[in-house]
């Protein structure tokens, strides 16, 4: 495994691997197969690949019909178009129909960069988590992506897996084992916990390293399954550290932070802070420039950790 690889590339490869093993795997795309990497599957298994053209709603309906007939459809496009362009189809034809459809959306977040806000998926998690029955996953790296795709293929339920465009650091080694619904503690620490997803995990680790130099020991938890949440891991972090910061490439509303906040508030109220995109759209720019501009950085996490720690029990004295 190279040091860096995009999660979508790992997805393309995993699909081919699955396709070899299981003839029921079928793949759909909406005229973006070169970018979502489903073209790898299309080339190898042309008869099990369906390009739906630029018609995301129809793609989801077709996937549902295929699933109802025993196929295991993987449907891909950019995260900004699914769920956004076909939410009602995901709702009725997949979630309410309880069908075994796998949505793998690439170009999540703002790191799709220069295309601008029409192409920045900053609200997909808010939407997809509003669909009862869906598993919602965000991998940390290419290795985890592969395992998630395999897991989705053998778990009969609707899945949403959110990938990103750029190459990102490979964090796990080949021995890593993804477990559906389980958080992964990447660093120990009891002063605060940083719970992160996707590209923010490596930034969380970086922040923790810096904070350790200042004597603040942070636990770093990656939460690859956004739904259902690993409530146990969250509550353990809450109890053992007393302060939680979440970090995600998503709006503050409706994503990881909002989901963790509800668990915490309902079971073990402690101060939190949220590293996420405030209520605004981003502009065109290079991925790294945008992450800086919209506060998705290690320093932003460090600041949030300090803020949460400063609020520990103050008002309970």
């Amino acid at each position: 495994m190279p040091q860096e690889m995009s999660t979508r590339k790992a997805y393309g490869r995993a699909l081919v691997e699955l396709g070899e093993k299981n003839p029921d795997i079928v793949v759909l795309d909406a005229d973006l197969s070169m970018s979502t990497m489903t073209h790898m599957f299309a080339q190898r298994f042309p008869h099990r690949f369906f390009d739906c053209g630029i018609a995301e709603q129809n793609m989801i309906g077709i996937a549902a019909g295929l699933a109802a007939s025993g196929k295991i459809p993987f449907a891909s496009t950019f995260a900004v178009f699914v769920p956004g362009r076909c939410f009602d189809q995901l709702r009725l034809s997949v979630a309410q129909s309880q069908l075994n459809v796998k949505i793998v959306a690439t170009h999540g977040g703002i790191t799709s960069g220069e295309d601008g806000f029409s192409h920045h998926a900053i609200e997909d998690l808010a939407l997809i988590c509003a669909l009862p029955g869906f598993y919602v996953l965000v991998p940390t790296d290419a290795i985890e992506t592969t395992q998630m795709v395999r897991t989705a293929a053998v778990t009969p339920a609707p899945f949403y897996i959110r990938l990103s465009r750029p190459s990102t650091p490979v964090i796990f080694d080949e021995n890593y084992h993804f477990v559906l619904g389980k958080a992964v503690t990447l660093r120990q620490g009891n002063d605060a916990a940083i719970i992160a997803i996707g590209i923010m995990v490596s930034r969380a680790l970086e922040a923790a390293k810096h904070l350790a130099q200042e004597g603040i020991e942070c636990r770093v938890v990656s939460m690859p399954t956004i739904k259902p949440l690993d409530e146990e891991a969250i509550l353990q972090s809450a109890k053992e550290t007393g302060a939680i910061v979440t970090a995600e490439e998503h709006l503050k509303h409706g994503g990881l932070g909002s989901r963790v906040a509800q668990v915490v508030a309902q079971h073990y109220a402690i101060p939190m802070d949220f590293v996420a995109i405030e209520d605004t759209y981003a502009r065109s720019g290079k991925a790294e420039e945008l992450l800086q501009r919209y506060g998705l950085t290690a320093p932003a996490i460090e600041q949030a950790v300090k803020s949460a720690i400063s609020r520990k029990q103050v008002h309970h004295s």
Binding site: G61, I62, A63, A68, G70, S93, S97
Partner: protein, 303 residues
């Protein structure tokens, strides 16, 4: 739950769950007995009685668009489609996908009369612990192939089923019933473009052309004419029939079967509320239940 007369015609009872082989076609028609034991017209009348009765019992629901499609569904469930009430997921079956989900009462009536569940359950429609949801739920009722209620989604779903049948080398036929107002939805045209592109000659769509949607006549609300030309320009083989004429419907479905390499659509010209005088072409009965008094009149007319 009120006890209501269900007016079981008993006509189709003889057919329930008994598969028989049509030696000519070499195909299995579970409901082949119907062909001899009872006329399709009689079955249609029975379904209509079920529809008005169950909607009256529920106190809400959609009689108009259920009644307009009765002959279409009758011909499919009691003559043409291969299906087994005792084995709803039979791999070789033909598929019926109700896209205009508010016509759920019609589908429930046809399924009950085909033996999928007791006709006396029909009266539980829309009640809190019933399987018979206001719009169809595929997870709850045997024989219901798709979850519906949000319009415009059935044709896409049907394409998925049709593609799967092709992949599995099954010669099943896939039928889907659309509303004419439903054809306003863009998803219908996305799907309409895709089906012939995928050469799905195992797929037949039927548009219940009753010329009404909720806010009025389709030509006033959102004109869909020339509807046949639209489908034709999207690559479909188009057949137009009187949707209450069983003979025309039978031959239209037969014609559709013969067409190779593309999908067929049957534009079935119908009357909304058909069979109940005061419901016919009456916008009010798109989504209003008959009162007890109205029910009695309706049942008399459908006797």
């Amino acid at each position: 739950m009120t006890e209501m007369p269900l007016h079981e015609g008993g006509l189709a009872i003889g057919c329930r769950g008994q598969a028989s082989v049509d030696s000519e076609a070499g195909e299995v028609f579970p409901n082949a007995d119907c062909k001899s034991s009872c006329s399709l017209e009689e079955i249609a009348r029975t379904l209509r009685r079920h529809i008005v009765t169950m909607i009256a019992a529920a106190g809400s629901g959609h009689p108009g668009g259920s009644l307009s499609a009765v002959e279409i569904v009758t011909v499919l469930f009691f003559r043409l489609m291969r299906h087994r009430s005792y084995d709803p997921n039979w791999k070789q079956r033909d598929h019926f996908i109700l896209s205009k989900g508010h016509a759920a009462p019609l589908l429930y009536a046809a399924l009950a009369e085909s033996g999928y569940f007791p006709t006396k359950e029909l009266i539980t429609l829309r009640k809190i612990d019933s399987r018979l949801q206001g719009h169809t739920d595929r997870a709850m009722v045997p024989g219901v192939e798709s979850t519906a209620g949000s319009l415009g989604q059935g044709l896409s779903f049907a394409i998925g089923v049709a593609l799967a049948c092709k992949l599995d080398s099954l010669d099943s036929r896939i039928y889907t019933l659309l509303g004419d107002g439903e054809c306003d939805e863009g998803q219908i045209w996305e799907a309409a473009m895709a089906a012939p592109h995928y050469h799905l000659d195992n797929l037949t769509a039927i548009v219940d052309r009753n010329n009404q949607q909720i806010d009025g006549w389709t030509r006033d609300v959102m004109n869909t004419e020339p509807l046949g030309e639209k489908w034709h320009s999207f690559g479909w083989h188009v057949i137009e029939v009187d949707g209450h004429d069983i003979g025309q419907l039978l031959s239209a479905f037969e014609e559709a079967k013969q067409i190779k390499d593309k999908s067929s659509v049957i534009i079935a010209h119908t009357i909304k509320g058909k069979g109940v005088s005061f419901m016919e072409n009456n916008l009010k009965f798109h989504g209003t239940a008959p009162t007890q008094e109205q029910l009695e009149i309706a049942l008399r007319e459908l006797a």
